[in-house]
């Protein structure tokens, strides 16, 4: 039985179908990448998977519990088994990095403060932030903020780790470091990892399977090889980075060439 099972999921905003009857199974211990362009519905799907929104219809079943219909108590229990690293890191600005990581431990466990300090230090060491625990989030670089967010997401040793656009706004080197970190975490902690991204190198580096979203529907769900060999025109357009209206792009390019030629002639 799959760890996460999504069935006939429909999400509507103002009468517009954002997710249109999605079906997906995510197995325990795999890294599933939700790939798609802007507005394809991947972040909306992620919000459904972590129980932040309720769908118009359909089910999201995690370990046998339908989180779209469960009681608030069951939802809280489910959320304690999920760690989420948000796109903007979403660290609490009034708390230091250490305090951010300690927050879920302090509130949801009966651990002694000294043990919490030790656990926080261990998480920060794994993420390479041991020397930065006393800093406030605004004193960190973009990459360090993301790593701090991962440290906080790992605080309660979740079964499922979720990343929303982990590479967004990072330079290629830091983004690649984060990809390696995701691989390392998965190997070390045997977690199920779900990543939402539109960064192709990142997706193909970390994924076990890729689910490609387009206009609220899955175009393909499969291994990296299966997706990269797909002949679907929308998948090919995304993977080969082809602009939406190539004729228009060519016309604009020709116009600018002509304009520059004219300028050279007049000068």
């Amino acid at each position: 039985m799959s760890l996460i099972s999504i069935r006939d999921l429909v999400v509507e905003y103002d009468g517009r179908h954002v997710l249109d009857g999605l079906n997906l199974d995510i197995e325990s211990g795999e890294t599933m990448v939700l790939l798609g362009g802007s507005g394809s519905g991947k972040s909306t799907l992620l919000r459904q998977i972590i129980g932040l929104e309720r769908p118009k219809s359909g089910r999201v079943v995690v370990k046998g519990t339908d989180i779209t219909r469960c009681s608030p108590g069951e939802l809280m229990r489910f959320r304690r088994s999920v760690g989420v690293a948000f796109q903007s890191a979403a660290l609490f600005n009034s708390l230091t990095v250490e305090e951010n990581v300690a927050l879920p431990l302090r509130e949801h466990t009966a651990l002694a403060p000294s043990i919490i300090d030790l656990v926080v230090w261990m998480k920060l060491v794994v993420l390479g932030l041991a020397d930065f625990g006393k800093l406030l989030p605004q004193e960190l670089s973009g990459g360090m903020k993301k790593r701090a967010a991962v440290a906080r997401a790992l605080a309660l040793d979740p079964e499922i780790l979720v990343f929303d656009e982990p590479s967004a706004g990072l330079d290629p080197i830091v983004a690649a470091e984060l990809d390696e970190l995701i691989l390392l975490l998965k190997q070390a902690f045997q977690m199920t990892v779900i990543v939402v991204t539109h960064e192709l190198p990142s997706a193909f580096r970390i994924a076990d399977r890729i689910a490609m979203l387009y206009q609220g529907k899955f175009l393909a769900v499969g291994t990296k090889e299966e997706v990269s060999k797909s002949k679907d025109p929308h998948i090919r357009q995304f993977l080969d980075r082809i602009p939406d209206n190539i004729t228009q792009a060519a016309a604009v390019s020709a116009y600018f060439k002509q304009y520059l030629q004219n300028r050279e002639e007049t000068s």
């Binding site: 972590i50 129980g51 932040l52 809280m76 229990r77 959320r79 304690r80 999920v82 989420v84 948000f86 796109q87 903007s88 979403a90 660290l91 609490f92 600005n93 927050l103 879920p104 302090r106 509130e107 949801h108 906080r152």
Partner: protein, 267 residues
Amino acid sequence: MATPLEGVGKRALDRLDYVGNLNIQLWATLRAIGSALPIIGNRYRWKETVRQILQIGVDALPMVGLMAICSGIILAMQGASELRRFGALHYVIDLVSVGFTRELGPLLTAIAVSGRSGSAFAAEIGTMKVTEEIDALKVMAFEPIEFILAPKYLAALIAVPCLSIVSNACGILAGGGFMFFSTHLGLGLYLKYALDSIVARDVISGLIKSVAFATIIAHVGCLEGFRVRGGPDAVGRSTTSAVVTSTFLVIVADAVFTAIFYFTGKP
């Protein structure tokens, strides 16, 4: 295109929706407020409550005190200019004492707190929404109402009545200063007359109003923050709206309470 009547109907429905949301939020907070209490509640929420009491109450003392002193002198001078003509200058003492205890003390305090803390609540929660911190709280299995709103509301319930008492004292003392310089009435004698003119129900009605004002300011400020959608400009709009709406509702509530006390034979 919508007709003017449809426009009026839509605005009326929007207002009803707003009031409904305020009520839902109020009941949810009352259910969660136990967690912010000392000893029986969560100690971190109580620590946050104390921090909020210092911000709402102690930090506002100079501003509220100065506003009350100026208003006390103004009320005494305006009253004296009329009462002097009837040889009833000593009634200035009653006017200032009763006027401040029943009305001006709580109202001036509410306006100051609305401008300082109501706007701060909206800005803080609005920013947390924009930066996904509210979502982060939810996925870490925290209830935002309990985590954010309960400490703020409890702090306002404690700080605003205390500030009102300080405001009453400053206003009455300012009236005493005026009487000393205009009629050479000693401060000790002035205070004796002032205390004679105030009865317990004056103080109680003022405190009841203060509690109602604190409820309005805390809940309007927080609701405006939770309603933020979009970017930083939305946070700015919510801050303005928090101050305008809470000041308006405080004055409406003041009129309602004054009418109730008047028609039920109380002050």
